[in-house]
Subunit: 167 residues, 2 copies
DNA sequence: TCTATCTAGTTAAACTTTCAAGAAAAGGTC
DNA sequence: GACCTTTTCTTGAAAGTTTAACTAGATAGA
């Protein structure tokens, strides 16, 4: 089943199929693992934690909703719901954007920052044990390059810039 | 910030942080991409599609619920909901297990099989374009090894078998 | 047998995500 | 300015997931 009939659908080689299965397997286990770890230790899913981390690294610990959504690779709708939830927890608050009356800033509160400071070490340790402790330096480097290539290929933004046939 | 103070929390090196960001970025983009592709072309999310594929490869195109859940790495509860939905679509049906009166088999119907046959080429093509078309043979091999290592490390089952210090 | 325990699968409720629709402000064009 | 389009963000409903509780049947031990 490795070679496709000419004109028919092209299937993956046996090696590609095996790599694809390993990829799906590993990524779902990883996401489950981190979701549980953070739900247990920080009371929120991984995506929400990522939002707080993102805010914590932004200037003045705040960011426009649209920018945050873009950086975190989620829809604005999803972000609206997420921020509403995090606001209830007291970890984020909204403030009006001075320059654009449509705009909102999501702001990481002190409580949010403290929570992050408390749970970060455990989360980093979980990531290390699940990934970096098991890979050689060469593998780490290789993984970085591979993920970079895949991400670049899937970037939705500014497709035009790479589509000469549309110019 | 690369080196940690002894006794304090160990952080990731700059390279590890960058690799981790690339990993998160690429895997979320990939999952979003495939979810949309399959929602559009097959009318279901990626996980549900994976269940049908799994059934299609099982002997007699059927599998015990618990086994299917284990193989697909999802909870039994999630599978119950998923099968209920796929049953409504006519792609799967349940049948009582003859040997164990508690048991249920999930069975891929002919309609389900046809649907799979129709949508598989497009899905394979999406996977190829997103991943294999962009990686060198060395990178594909490397990715396979890396994902294998990560998955093995996160395997929940039979941890005892690999824990000499518990013996 | 009788009983306790475990396993298979489902269900209800709470929560998260997606999708489509909509309000409000900004930007451009005449 | 008037008009049209775009951008920003929110909302409500539908779909999917999680957690804990629950039923029914299997299993093992006294």
């Amino acid at each position: 089943m490795t070679t496709a009939s000419p004109g028919g659908p092209r299937w993956l080689t046996d090696e590609e199929q095996s790599v694809w299965r390993a990829y799906l397997h590993a990524t779902t286990l990883m996401e489950d693992h981190l979701d549980r770890q953070l739900q247990r230790d920080a009371g929120m899913p991984h995506v929400y934690y990522g939002l707080l981390v993102n805010l914590s690294q932004a200037p003045r610990r705040r960011k426009r909703m649209t920018d945050l959504a873009k950086d975190a690779k989620i829809t604005r709708s999803r972000l609206s719901h997420a921020v509403a939830r995090l606001e209830k927890n007291g970890w984020v608050r909204r403030e009006d954007c001075p320059s654009d009356k449509r705009g909102q800033n999501a702001v990481l509160t002190d409580e949010g920052y403290d929570m992050l400071a408390r749970s970060a070490p455990g989360h980093v340790e979980a990531v290390r044990q699940a990934m970096f402790a098991r890979l050689s330096p060469q593998q780490v480097q290789s993984l970085g390059e591979i993920m970079q290539v895949i991400a670049t290929g899937l970037q939705p933004e500014d497709m035009d810039a790479d589509l000469p046939w549309l110019r």
